[in-house]
Subunit: 419 residues, 2 copies
Amino acid sequence: MTVVWQCQEVNQTAAPAGAARQGSLRELNLALVLGRIAAADRPPSRAALAAETGLTRATVSAVVEDLVAGRLVTEAAPTPRAGAGRPARGLVLAGDGPAGLGLEINVDYLAACVVDLAGEVRHHTVHRADLRPVAPADALGRLARLAAQARAHAEAQGLSLAGAALGVPGLVDDTGQVRLAPNLGWRDVPVPELLAGHPPLTETVDGVPALVVDNEANLAALGELHAGGGPGSFLHISGEVGIGAGIVLDGALFRGTRGWSGEIGHIPVRPDGPPCRCGGRGCLERYAGQEAILSAAGLVGAELPADTAPNRLAELAEAGEPAVLHALHEAGTAIGVTVASVVNLLDLDTVVLGGGYAPLIPWLRPPMLAEIERRVLTAAWSPVTVRPAALGATAAAVGAAGSVVRRIIARPAGWLTRF
Amino acid sequence: MTVVWQCQEVNQTAAPAGAARQGSLRELNLALVLGRIAAADRPPSRAALAAETGLTRATVSAVVEDLVAGRLVTEAAPTPRAGAGRPARGLVLAGDGPAGLGLEINVDYLAACVVDLAGEVRHHTVHRADLRPVAPADALGRLARLAAQARAHAEAQGLSLAGAALGVPGLVDDTGQVRLAPNLGWRDVPVPELLAGHPPLTETVDGVPALVVDNEANLAALGELHAGGGPGSFLHISGEVGIGAGIVLDGALFRGTRGWSGEIGHIPVRPDGPPCRCGGRGCLERYAGQEAILSAAGLVGAELPADTAPNRLAELAEAGEPAVLHALHEAGTAIGVTVASVVNLLDLDTVVLGGGYAPLIPWLRPPMLAEIERRVLTAAWSPVTVRPAALGATAAAVGAAGSVVRRIIARPAGWLTRF
DNA sequence: CGCTATTTGTTCAGTGGTTGAATTAAATGA
DNA sequence: TCATTTAATTCAACCACTGAACAAATAGCG
């Protein structure tokens, strides 16, 4: 069985692109009701859903019946209510329905996780290893084993995997091929082909799960969107070995024409600055990339593993080490200049710092804000918030798994037709 | 009668945000069919529409009947077809139905135009005057007179104005207030209030036309989208006295959280460069704004009107004037650095130069492309195209009018309920 | 304890809108 | 002239939502 390829684009709207046929109405309302159930903080009743969506209670009942039959929703203890009346039956996302498999390949670890419809992380494994010397096929083989374990754990909990998403620190084209992953040393790696021999990733209990390959920073941003409260617009910057960014606009990831958006690490900060291996000069990565910070802090020979470097820097900064403080100030300034560009261009009001930047926020934020306030034209009316990411280092894996379940929630009809 | 305020956001999709009720189906299909008629290059028949949309011919007939009754579509000579068979009846956008009124206030002119459903400019006036010394209320009064003339011309041609949009060179908030228009010297100007006393802008033949106030660069980008071929994604840079940009993603204008996107003029090019009046340093406007180019070319005392300066620069460049060539090279380099940032961030493949930049393209493009190729990570796989805008100096007015008719095409149900 | 008020959820006839097949309309070509 | 072909309309069937009536389940009150 071959990998069935699925378009990267997560169609956030349930609206039919083409003809609106009769069933479209039901598709739309399935998505509407399921979306409200997912967004509610307490199990809503059918009557409450009818009131807030504007549908009739009759319609909501019919829609909910479909959702329950498709194992997307189950009944639970309702929100207690004062006064008389027949007690409501609360509706919650099913904890034993479809789930998403999230995978991540990074420079120094592999990760797999399973997220259920409600967004709970039901399984999570990280396998630490330096993957730079490992051949892509080999690395993907290890990943497939991790995925097989994850599937076993999911099934043991009564979950069926509805799909998988894989985050890679590089540029992915729309056929799933990794065109360039500089920090891994990958170039033109046909991920779907290489995974085709590993059944756990190519089939699930009922049918065929699609595998989506995407940029790691994009998926991390989705994870943040998922974990960090309501839908909004923000820029999520992950400071790993490289610097990537995910742009979330109105609760949807913005991927660009070819899915290569967010390459913030190579935005020029000083056009005549030091040369970067991308061919340009003075790119952000030269000022705020992990290597740049470490070398500016005089820690270049310290031989720190990539995953502990940020914490080490935070310790030294805490201790008042002048070189480290200076390096972080410079990095924060460079990030601030870049963010000012982004905000002037896109009019965003929130910047989330994730990955290795999270522990360094106390030192990065002040110079960032200073630059932003100076340079953003609209800063006076709408201050820009800089906050740490809600998820930790493996945000991309969680975001990947979340993207699978979010797609089901956004377009439940696709899942329901499997029954 | 007061100005009825309408949300700036042009909802590109006809999908209902809330409940999908029965009528939603028809709304969706009205939009679908009308959209195809608008996008077709030759009058399609009902049968052809059925084939390409996937709807039944019966449904298409019913939908078309509604559209014809609402004066959005008329029958025309069909596309000739070889062979036997009953001849088709071609469908085209009505030339005598609703039309859009586009208005523009800029530093040295006022403009008004009327665009019909098919996108034809049916009326166009430009009133040249330096508006910097004029009070906002007075300027808007003159604009209202221009609008009244435009309405008279539209009605004489059998058109009904369905709405109006006004482009302003500054930041507009979501109540229509101009928060800041630096080059006009406006600050916190309540445009809708000031226009409320001018009936031509507050009522039309059948009901109330909404007035939308938007950034001039945004509307110019919409005009370009409208005139420049199929829907795509591009960055439209207008070099007027300031530098503004409109971002079009997948055929839709991207406005940002508050509608203040595209402030490209204040993206830092050299963070330690000369101070800018925005409070930052080394902004793009300091290198590629009209004043910056003129002064770098040694023409600072030449007292050129803003509208003739670009052509004068082109003449001098054509003649090989070294200072001018140098100034344009510097400007092109700065624009290129900025565009590289934008492309790295958004993954766009097309940059359109409009406004005063259009005549200077031969000199601006080479340095731009050089910077883009050096600095854009994905330039090797997807070259970035730099091309001149299809519309001239008053693109914003045409784009404003076009945005009105495009909204009708995107959501015809709203118009049809007027009958 | 029983009755009423109240709210939830379901049932059912009615309706809008799409579907698919049959029918009518209008041309070409032998 | 007539068969062929394609376009457009008509009509019964069907799907999904609507609105009202009804059944279910509880709290409050005498």
